[in-house]
Symmetry: C2
Subunit: 325 residues, 2 copies
């Protein structure tokens, strides 16, 4: 029998709670083979953690896991980003870390569709004009034939590529390997990033936050985007040099940007971003939807638990300690 | 030979000027058969108007046309909306009035795609939060299966229907006749308007402004939209009761709206719309694009001029004095 320690975070809201009902409706394995207990991060049960084969949820404390979860074989988080757990040097020997990559793709595609259209119609400029009660029409061309460079071509980047293709845009992707991919006309390795953005109308960030991507979109990279270009960050705040972005918008080097993620979230009221010209801010909503969020993030768990029960190593959505995603 | 009086309006900007170059690149009829002279509204040439067979352009003064353009057979305007010329009782006997309907469809489809996604992701709420430096995430479902009611199913409405279908939405259209149409699952006559909006998530206005549509979207109609719904106006300001809309947004009956057109344009700085909650304002840019605008609005003219040269009555994009569009 597998003992599963489920951890919730009350403060994250109803849509994100793994309730016993949601668990039962998604994890289709006999109760005598998989026994789950439900806990909140605010009230850790060390005894239950000590006998757990599997941990599932969010907000885990690596130090606590390392010290107490001695029997751990699988830790599954209900997010795609795992930057809070890096580096993965605390993971008990033999344990596998899995994430919920892929469940965000549908919503991410719609967000990308909306924000690429916003940038192409100079909406950030129109929103600024509205704030100042100013009528300032700008005619803009349609999106067909415009060029977008997507940094990171995982599930999220592929969703953005689909949106760009719906709009008839030409897609360049930047990936670690630079290997060809079906959703991009051109794939370029990260080492050629500056070249890859140098003819882009829009740059969209969709890479995981790792040691390799922290600060990747530097002042120099931003300056390599052609004048008048736009930028969308759906990845993580720390991938981007925020100060450099603010300067690029203030100096009209970029014509607009949309940020959904920030170094500090919630974005503090004192942040200079709130007043930055030609910037649209959304509060980390680009990829999540309320309906079935937990059910989707638990879907890959079925197969991984079944593998564990057969004595095999779980292999769906495994996070690589080396690549950090 | 046909004498063509071309009238421009300098103040409308470069993209809207019918220059001799644009005329030559679009109107492919021999110069000995069609002779065009170019004028500005600020400096009407009554002698040229008096011998004109055809008038082409914008900003025509009906009284001047009626009094001086005695030979007029065809008047072609480079807009789709003709509300400034209504009623068409001043048109010289036998003259045909044509407009540029249809050229706006591509851009309109992209605007509809953007703004339907804005409403479905509660972007007007997020934009308000940004104005107040407030982090207020709202998770929203994807668009599939949501319901949109489109008021007016001409070229513009059909473009909106295509956008809605891209988003997997269910389309109801409201038209004068209520006859079935290929881009809508359901078509309802204007007499059933309140019923047609009563289960809509979103209502999009795309009808021409005529005696029949002035004030059509009244307080009563707005109240028939389900609580939490959204509204987009891409038609003309006077189709909608602005005060009723402001109240519906203030009282949270509607969750958001996007207006591109207004009773008075430019929208005066004193308008209460600028400060209305959950309202996105764009300055009449939903349907125009700078590239080839004039070339597209002159395209239908070729055929109409050829018909005139053959002694026939022009029949492309004719505005009906009865229906006023």
């Amino acid at each position: 029998m597998l003992r599963v320690y489920v951890q919730n975070q009350k403060e994250r809201g109803e849509a994100y709670q793994i309730t016993p009902e949601r668990w039962r409706s998604t994890v289709h394995l006999p109760a005598e083979k998989v026994h789950a207990t439900f806990h909140d991060k605010s009230n850790v049960d060390l005894a239950a953690l000590g006998v757990a084969d599997v941990c599932v949820g969010s907000g885990f404390d690596p130090a606590l896991i390392q010290r107490h979860a001695r029997k751990l074989k699988l830790l599954h988080v209900t997010s795609a980003g795992v930057e809070k757990y890096l580096p993965l040097d605390w993971l008990p020997d033999g344990a596998v870390f899995t994430n919920s990559r892929g469940v965000h793709a549908g919503k991410a595609e719609q967000y990308a569709l909306m924000t690429l259209l916003m940038l192409s119609s100079k909406f950030p400029l129109l929103a600024d004009a509205q704030r100042h009660h100013r009528w300032a029409p700008v005619l803009t061309p349609m999106t067909m034939g415009q060029r977008v460079t997507i940094v990171g071509l995982g599930n999220l980047g592929t969703a953005v590529a689909r949106a760009a293709q719906t709009l008839g845009m030409d897609v360049t992707a930047v990936t670690r390997s630079g290997k060809p991919a079906s959703h991009a006309a051109r794939v370029v390795p990260t080492s050629n990033l500056k070249d890859a953005v140098s003819d882009a109308n829009y740059v969209v960030l969709t890479c995981p936050l790792t040691d390799a991507t922290r600060g990747l979109i530097s002042d120099e990279v931003i300056k390599s985007i052609p004048r008048g270009g736009g930028l969308i960050n759906m990845a993580r705040g720390a991938v981007l040099d925020t100060t450099a972005l603010i300067n690029a918008l203030r100096e009209n080097h970029l014509s607009g940007a949309v940020l959904d993620v920030f170094d500090e979230e919630p974005l503090p009221a004192s942040s200079p971003l709130w007043n930055c010209p030609n910037l649209v801010i959304t509060p980390h909503v680009s990829c999540d939807e309320p309906l079935g969020y937990i059910e989707k993030t638990l879907q890959s768990l079925n197969e991984n638990l079944a593998q564990l029960l057969e004595g095999r190593r779980p292999n769906i959505n495994v996070v690589s300690p080396l690549h950090q995603y």
